[in-house]
Symmetry: C2
Subunit: 288 residues, 2 copies
């Protein structure tokens, strides 16, 4: 996950002003994007979510051509690394102290390129061990769905384990399953898949939507709905998704007082195969 | 509110690494402290809250002597400005991409000195106009009370007005009054004062606790309790507090469909007098 190169507002630097509102208030958005053979994967979907987030927060979104140009510049600086991770941070920009900020503030755009994380290739094939997190997600319809920079809930949830698990399950205050700490969750029941609504909490993941569309196109029933603790416990299969990992099937969930064995099942495997083939991305070969 | 000088980890610079976790996740805390005649006001209380916040987030808190030494350095660079604002940001430090971070990461400590905000002196004497904000506060007991860097709710609440109000009232999702956008709120009823609990949302303000103690010492009944919308509407007097403004009495609250006239009342004025005299700080003279 080492940072290899970065651009701040188009310059090859790795520092930002301490008056930046991303630092002071988490006043901004980010996207984490897979780069394979110098190709940005699912660019259109990432840019659309960034646009939506900027709209919600009333931040000036950089143009698509500006971002593409800068990503190309960064990729050329780091041409031999594949797969890799592009992270874009867009903050509201620099301002004086205080929550108020004038509407015409120029955003700060930070684009960085890092090595692929040290995940094991085995996670794709054999599945992962998952912890049910004690840290709940708060509900905030005004900020749900977008990938903003207020991520303390994820930070403290991730503190609940070291390396004995590969992901954690987060629920809202009333026990609805919402997402993984760094991913979205899907459950499989009777051949159909369900992923939680992200209207009150959670991130509207790019890979989540890719999977929903692929299922629809291939005759697998896929819906967005509330998922209770009980529904997850009774699921036939469970898997996590994000732009970097693609899909990780769940092998076992640690529920603190008991555990649930899932094993990567046939529906999950079918969706993994469809994802790999339709988009010609071989997630199984990423990682160590 | 112009930034005059800053120190990052003891160096006179004004930039920070883009790998800082405050920028990436809002993974840190801050304190905003009044400086009068080169004296840091209520230092002990600010440092105690910072310690509490670092404890909650498991961030290594800088020692008191380290912070004092750096603040002194900053004050010497800017000796002729009074009153002024010291802002301390402590983040978990720099890390690789991802929510996980090793426990022994060195924090980043950013200390800045800014001019006093452009508030009118008249706010202290004549009171302020206040908006009831539409943006609700989410409930998160794990993060309530501490002054962390996840402040998007305050940012979007502050977007609800330009300069027609001086503060906004924020409530939780079920209508309990919690705080001002940048301050704590107190209501006065039958000679006693009440300020909302901050166990589920809100910041445990330094000035809030100063006021509670002053009231206790001077025989004014002061409690922390739930405050409903109705209780606020029926209050005799309303005031806001923070470390920078001291106390602002409320003149009028805009409730969208009607408005509530409060006028600075006798109990508020009494507490303002006690605050000024006991701590020898003449808040009435700050601002324009």
């Amino acid at each position: 996950m080492a940072l290899l190169n970065s651009l701040v507002n188009g310059e090859v630097v790795s520092e930002i002003s301490i008056t930046d509102r991303g630092l002071n208030y988490g006043d901004g958005l980010f996207e984490t994007i897979l780069l394979v053979n110098q190709q940005v994967i699912f660019w259109e979907q990432h840019y659309q979510r960034l646009l939506t987030g900027c709209d919600v927060l009333a931040i000036q979104c950089p143009t698509e051509s500006y971002l593409k140009e800068n990503i190309n510049k960064l990729v050329q600086l780091t041409a031999d690394v594949t797969p890799a991770i592009i992270k874009i941070i867009v903050t509201r920009g620099n301002s004086e102290r205080g929550y108020y900020c004038t509407e015409n503030t120029a955003p700060n755009v930070i684009i960085s390129l890092s090595t692929y994380p040290g995940y094991l290739m085995d996670y794709w094939n054999s599945g992962i061990n998952v912890k049910s997190c004690n840290t709940p997600l708060s509900s905030q319809p005004r900020l749900a769905g977008i990938k903003h920079l207020n991520r303390l809930e994820q930070v403290i949830a991730r503190q609940e384990w070291q390396d004995e698990y590969q992901e954690g399950i987060m629920s809202d205050m009333v026990g609805n399953i919402i997402e993984g700490v760094m991913s979205n969750i899907f459950i499989v029941k009777q051949g159909g898949v369900t992923t939680p609504l992200v209207d009150n909490a959670g991130v509207n993941g790019v890979m989540r939507n890719i999977i929903l569309k692929l299922c629809e196109a291939h005759g697998i029933m896929a819906i967005k709905d509330k998922i209770s603790y009980q529904a997850l416990k009774e699921a036939d299969e469970v898997f996590f998704t994000n732009s970097i990992i693609g899909i990780w099937p769940v092998r076992e969930i640690d529920w603190q007082f008991d555990s649930q064995t899932c094993l990567p099942g046939p529906v999950t495997k079918k969706i993994m195969q469809i994802l790999t083939e339709e988009h010609s991305i071989d997630y199984a070969t990423f990682g160590l």
